[in-house]
């Protein structure tokens, strides 16, 4: 069970949250003009990182806010959580695997 630090409520148990996939996926500016391949990339393709991954979570059973989390996909350590729209923080601490 993960303890996820909600930027608004503080550390809470994983069962209060829902997962939202990779963070910082920007919608292409001119979606009518881009190729199908670029659009498919935006809609379907996500990184499959071994290491620190920036991902979205929503505090579904708590404050219902979306936010971002930096989580190590091997050790499951959560290195940071920050508000949606904010830049990811500098992560000095990187676990060696």
């Amino acid at each position: 069970m993960l303890v996820i630090p909600c930027p608004y409520c503080g550390p809470r148990c994983e069962i209060e949250f829902s997962y939202g996939g990779q963070a910082h996926i920007a919608r292409p500016e001119d979606s009518a003009a881009i190729s199908d391949e670029t659009w498919a990339d935006y809609v379907f393709l996500r990184d499959n990182t071994k290491g620190v991954f920036l991902e979205r979570w929503v505090h579904a059973h708590g404050c219902r806010q979306w936010f971002n989390v930096a989580r190590h996909t091997v050790t499951y350590e959560i290195l940071a959580s920050y508000e949606t729209g904010a830049k990811p923080p500098k992560l000095d601490f990187v676990t060696q695997v």
Binding site: C9, C63, R64
Partner: protein, 210 residues
């Protein structure tokens, strides 16, 4: 609002008022439905001081802005649900409390990007009190309910036996009537949560308080 004489509280069908009265045996957990609590959901710009001031001018108490905080003014309590969301509660069981709070807030907050929604009918309010109330809730709730971590006046939205609930510690161990929580749960989950609480409290000696 529906005709008052047709209105039923979410746990009315359990016939709690028809149960055997408290026999005086030492019960460490007491359960009660608080029917017809007024409950209004308020959403608005929590970082905008003019919005907070407008609420305070109308309600004569301040909206809580710290996570899990509540504030009391007269017969209503404002519970922090999120950075832009609150619950305004009047748990005295006056049937018109919800619409009355809602219309007052709507008038006071007109012009703000805010939403005032009377959700009284959609929730059940279950009061759980007694010395073992914390221990009973803790069986199905991941929140830290230890007296050091969860104090009088604090509230939190979390899960209880998998149901989504809002828990409010209305009185702690030092209060005159002893420890008491209000647990708000969606109406359709009310019976499930009530029976779960009865079962969880069984080992401590439970009584339905009327």
């Amino acid at each position: 609002m529906i005709e008052r004489y047709l209105r039923q509280s979410p746990l009315a069908h359990l016939g709690l008022s028809g149960r055997g009265q408290d026999d005086g045996a030492p019960a460490q957990v007491r359960l009660a439905e608080r029917p017809f609590s007024g409950l209004v959901n308020l959403r608005g710009p929590g970082a905008d001081q003019t919005f907070l001031d407008a609420f305070e001018a109308a309600a004569e108490y301040a909206l809580p802005t710290a996570a899990g905080a509540s504030s009391v003014g007269g017969n209503t309590t404002a519970l922090w649900l999120g950075p832009r969301e609150w619950a305004i509660v009047d748990a005295r069981g006056e049937p018109d409390a919800g619409p009355r709070i809602a219309s007052r807030l709507r008038a006071a907050l007109a012009g703000f990007p805010a939403a005032v929604t009377d959700i009284s009918e959609s929730r059940a309010c279950i009061q759980i009190s007694g010395a073992k109330a914390r221990a009973t809730l803790q069986k199905g709730c991941p929140l830290d309910l230890h007296p050091r971590a969860f104090r009088q006046g604090q509230c939190a939205q979390t899960r209880l036996a998998k149901a989504s609930v809002l828990i409010h510690l209305t009185a702690d161990e030092s209060a005159q009537g002893g420890l008491a929580f209000d647990v708000y749960v969606a109406r359709s989950f009310a019976e499930y949560v009530w029976f779960w609480l009865e079962d969880a409290a069984c080992e401590y000696g439970a009584n339905a308080k009327l």
